[in-house]
Amino acid sequence: MTKITMMVDGAKVADDVEPRTLLVQYLREQLGKTGTVVGCDTSNCGACTVHMNGTSVKSCNVLAVQADGAEVTTIEGLAKDGELHPVQEAFRDCHGLQCGYCTPGMIMQSVALLQENPKPSESEIREGLEGNLCRCTGYHNIVKAVQQAAGQSEGVNA
């Protein structure tokens, strides 16, 4: 067992973990952060995407011990003081989710994408979300949501 300490969604946590524990397993099983989910076992789907020290990572692809000392933000820590993050709001407004399983990862990746490139083109959005799979939406409204969050469109208001 290895002792690790990190900041998760603004709270300091410390635990002993098996060295093989993945960050996503630590988040879900030990911290109860079940908002972050597992969709595959080959790091293709991106459902487990979180932010580590300000950049997006697939938390199934990071060992918990690698996150020792890190600052981690999950989907559960994105809204502040009950106010949704603009990307969360845009996903709802543009109907960028259906079953919602890919959504935590998709939102976290979209936030990171907009941090790196605040005014992305449609193709930059599509390239930037390539590592996150969605089976429900066909991506159409997800792209619109990111555009709306970037202030480029009014979304799909009918």
Binding site: V37, D41, C99, Y101
Partner: protein, 823 residues
């Protein structure tokens, strides 16, 4: 007591693009996926699965696994005996259908790679999985049947004890049914004085690939045994558990909490559910099983997998005279829940929107040693639509007619509805002319045809093709009597109840079980309109057999058109019950009470009461009519009188690089007629998502097995789900002809995009290179296949179909993906 006239802000909920009620939880991670559930002392399962497609189990050594730290037990079929139950087939398509016994965990022989042979119970998931690696199973490999056509020849048997691989042969003949003429006569006649198109198409095997892996938790510690499962069908699951395990139905509670997509893939009763149920009961402890993605791809059911032999006859002016369909459908190694019923659902759809005077459908279901198949979005209808839409374009090419003009010549005109088809269905409403006209205009059809001609004339490296799909489908499964005639094991009704709470809130209980569709939102809109209450005041409850005690769940584009109609009928009963109470409280005659916008008023006066006030009065029960029960709560069970028939026109423009075979979608336009729309935002999501699944069949997805029967596309590295970078934004619109078989005038939309899009996409690629001698490219249309098709034709080599090479060496025997490549 507010009058509606005083509330100019009130607008009808139906038709409004309400943001979804579901989303607040989902976008903040406050979710209730089955795998999130943790119970005190919960144990975990890991499955030991066969690596062989067909093998005798000669021994299973579990000692080392049992000795591992924190392992509670390791079980084989011999340990569990009959307590593991059995998996059912709900639809024996013929009286003499052959079906092997489907145990959750067989003891003697495995019949596909991925089948469970032992199960480990441990205190943690990781320890269970580690120990599963230590279970030593000895197998004696048996010859496996992997190729569908070879399977039909019965040379090697998937289940030797059955004596054949053929499960059932199902036929519909329009002459025998009295719905049309003799198809063979029509074809023979066309051979002499008309035109006959004969093609063979491959519907490759697909994997539903819902994003949430399947998970099951069973808690046996209460009076009711509770199962949480990532399922589309909690009610059917409960029934099947009771029917096969001997546990009374009343002692089982099934909950489908948040469910992360299904697409038919969770329309199943699974070995994993049965084993979790069995072991939790045996050990008296809560148990969880969550599959890995790799397990999901290999062991959750697959979809499609057919060969379609199609013969279409027509007169020389393009008037169709007959259609004959001969299908081979791969069941995989078992007849699963719906099983052979999936291709049979296509039987009524091959004739589509066209007026065929003669029609015959033949389907042979066949066993192979592969993962079992069942419903995948569209289930039978995408296959049928693909077949007929490709054939109509082939006929147009043969006659050198515009494919739109050819379709128009043969489709049912809008003034001809209701129309009884050659397959015996009555299409209630539709307007193919209107949808097509709108789609052509949005698409810029004439301009794109002009550009196509210009590129052809110039011999451009990049050619342009236009694909067309003027589809219809039958949805809203299903009238129970029709299901009875088809020998299906259950009905097709749906149940709803409406509870009027004392505080003015309304609880709606539905037997439909959403897994991403947005029922909470859409159903709230319907109830808000019918009862005149606020959208926010309606709570929709579902997916728990103890709350929604009765239902037939969600699949077949049924939730709105069947479940929504049940809801309408239940709300109507609430209003009828409230009327005498209103009359009593207002001291008026019931005949003078009118109900409008949530308010019961006395005709010709300004006196009235809001429905919430009546609900509160009934709750208090201090003053209500003599002889009446003090309750407004109502329920309804609605059995649909007919299917309904969404339709639409889908147009795809594709650029094909003739030197590399690469394809690039340039534009996709669809105009769907789904009747009245409850929530346009939700509809748009259903259409977009449906389109991409259909497009993915055309371009990317295929479950590929190697010659040993191993699924080589068994992870998301190899099974090509489309990404955001692979896809484009779509132009979608609607025309509206309300259905006349339900109160709301709605038609299903959940499967439409998937059903329609595949032939439009493949058709566009073929259209781009037809002048190079190509008339077919096998799906998925990879650059390699497109390139080889062009080369084959260019060389004047084998027929195009033969040149439609898949990924692997065609000389290699038994490779599924090469089926027909050299035929």
């Amino acid at each position: 007591m507010t009058q509606l006239e005083d509330r100019p802000d009130v607008q009808p909920e139906i038709g409004r693009d309400r943001r979804r009620k579901e989303d607040q939880r989902l976008i903040t991670g406050r979710t209730r996926w089955t795998d999130n559930i943790t119970l005190p002392g919960m144990l975990h399962l890991a499955m030991v699965r066969s690596p062989f497609a067909h093998a005798k189990i000669t021994s299973i050594d579990t000692e080392q696994a049992k000795a591992s730290t924190n392992v509670v037990g390791v079980y084989t079929a011999a340990d569990l005996g009959e307590s593991q139950g059995v998996l059912i087939n709900a639809w024996a398509i013929t009286e003499d259908q052959k079906a092997p016994t489907h145990l959750p965990m067989p003891g003697d022989r495995v019949t596909f790679a991925g089948e469970i042979v032992a199960v480990v119970v441990a205190r943690t998931q990781r320890e269970a999985r580690d120990a599963a690696e230590l279970v030593d199973v000895e197998y004696e490999e048996l010859p496996a049947v992997l190729d569908l056509k070879k399977a039909a020849a019965d040379e090697v048997l998937a289940h030797p004890e059955l004596g054949t691989n053929k499960s059932a042969f199902w036929k519909f003949d329009s002459e025998e049914a009295g719905t049309g003429g003799n198809v063979d006569a029509a074809i023979e006649k066309a051979r002499t004085d008309g035109v006959v198109i004969e093609r063979e198409y491959r519907q490759q095997r697909l994997i539903p690939a819902f994003m949430e892996p399947r998970s099951t938790v069973v808690d046996p510690t209460g009076e009711q045994i509770t199962m949480w499962s990532a399922t589309q069908i909690p009610h059917i699951l409960r029934f099947a558990l009771a029917a096969t395990t001997g546990v009374p139905e009343s002692k089982i509670r099934v909950i489908a909490p948040d469910v992360g997509g299904g697409f038919g893939g969770k329309l199943q009763t699974t070995p994993e559910e049965w084993l979790t149920f069995c072991l939790a009961n045996k050990l008296g402890k809560s148990i969880k099983y969550t599959e890995t993605r790799s397990e999901s791809l290999v062991a959750a059911h697959h979809g499609r997998d057919q060969w379609q032999k199609l013969t279409l006859s027509a007169e020389k002016d393009g008037t169709v005279t007959g259609l004959k369909v001969e299908l081979l459908a791969d069941l995989g190694s078992y007849v699963s829940l719906v099983g052979g019923g999936v291709p049979v659902l296509g039987a009524f759809m091959f004739n589509a929107i066209y007026k065929f005077p003669a029609y015959q459908f033949n389907c042979q279901t066949v066993f192979t040693n592969k993962t079992w198949t069942d419903a995948y979005r569209g289930a039978g209808r995408p296959e049928a639509t693909y077949g007929i839409e490709r054939m109509m374009s082939e006929l147009a090419a043969e006659l050198d007619m515009d494919p739109i003009e050819l379709r128009e010549k043969n489709w049912i005109k809008h003034e001809e509805f209701p129309f009884t088809t050659v397959a015996g269905l009555e299409y209630d409403t539709g307007n193919y002319e209107a949808a097509t006209a709108k789609a052509l205009e949005m698409f810029g059809y004439d301009e794109l045809r002009a550009e196509q001609k210009q590129r052809r004339d110039a011999g451009d490296r990049v050619q342009l093709g236009i694909g067309i799909s003027t589809f219809t489908e039958m949805c809203g499964l299903a009238p129970s009597r029709v299901l009875g005639q088809l020998n299906y094991g259950a009905g097709g009704w749906e149940h709803a109840s409406v509870r009027m709470l004392a505080t003015g809130k309304v609880e709606v209980v539905t037997g439909a079980s959403a897994h991403g569709q947005g029922h909470e939102t859409a159903f709230s809109q319907i109830v808000a309109d019918r009862l005149g209450v606020a959208f926010e005041d309606v709570e929709v409850l579902h997916g728990d057999t103890q709350i929604a005690h009765k239902g037939l769940d969600t699949y077949g584009s049924r939730s709105l058109v069947v479940g929504g109609e049940a809801l309408v009928k239940a709300t109507d009963k609430v209003i009828e019950k409230a009327k005498p109470v209103a009359a009593h409280l207002l001291e008026a005659s019931v005949d003078d009470i009118e109900f409008s916008a949530g308010r019961f008023s006395v005709k010709g006066t300004d006196q009235g009461l809001a429905i919430g006030e009546i609900a509160a009065a009934v709750f208090a029960a201090h003053n209500y009519p003599e002889g009446m029960e003090p309750s407004l709560d109502s329920e309804a069970t609605y059995d649909p009188v007919n299917f309904n028939y969404p339709h639409g026109t889908h147009l795809c423009a594709m650029e094909v690089d003739t030197e590399t075979g690469a394809v690039k979608m340039r534009k996709y336009v669809c105009v769907d007629d789904i009747g009245n729309v409850i929530n346009p935002l939700i509809v748009s999501g259903q259409v977009h998502g449906g389109l991409v699944q259909g497009i993915a069949q055309a371009l990317w997805e295929e479950a590929v097995y190697d010659e040993a029967g191993t699924l080589v596309s068994g992870s998301f590295v190899d099974y090509l789900l489309p990404t955001s970078a692979d896809t484009i934004s779509f132009d979608i619109e609607h025309t509206t002809t309300p259905s006349i078989t339900n109160t709301l005038g709605t038609k299903g939309v959940g499967e439409a995009g998937t059903i329609a899009s595949t032939p439009a996409v493949v058709g566009s690629i073929v259209d781009a290179v037809r002048h190079l001698g190509v008339n077919d490219i096998q799906m998925p249309c990879t650059p390699e296949r497109v390139w080889k098709a062009i080369q084959g034709a260019g060389d004047g080599g084998p027929a195009t179909e033969g040149a439609a090479m898949p990924h692997f060496d065609p000389d290699e025997p038994g490779t599924d993906s090469t089926e027909g490549a050299g035929a």
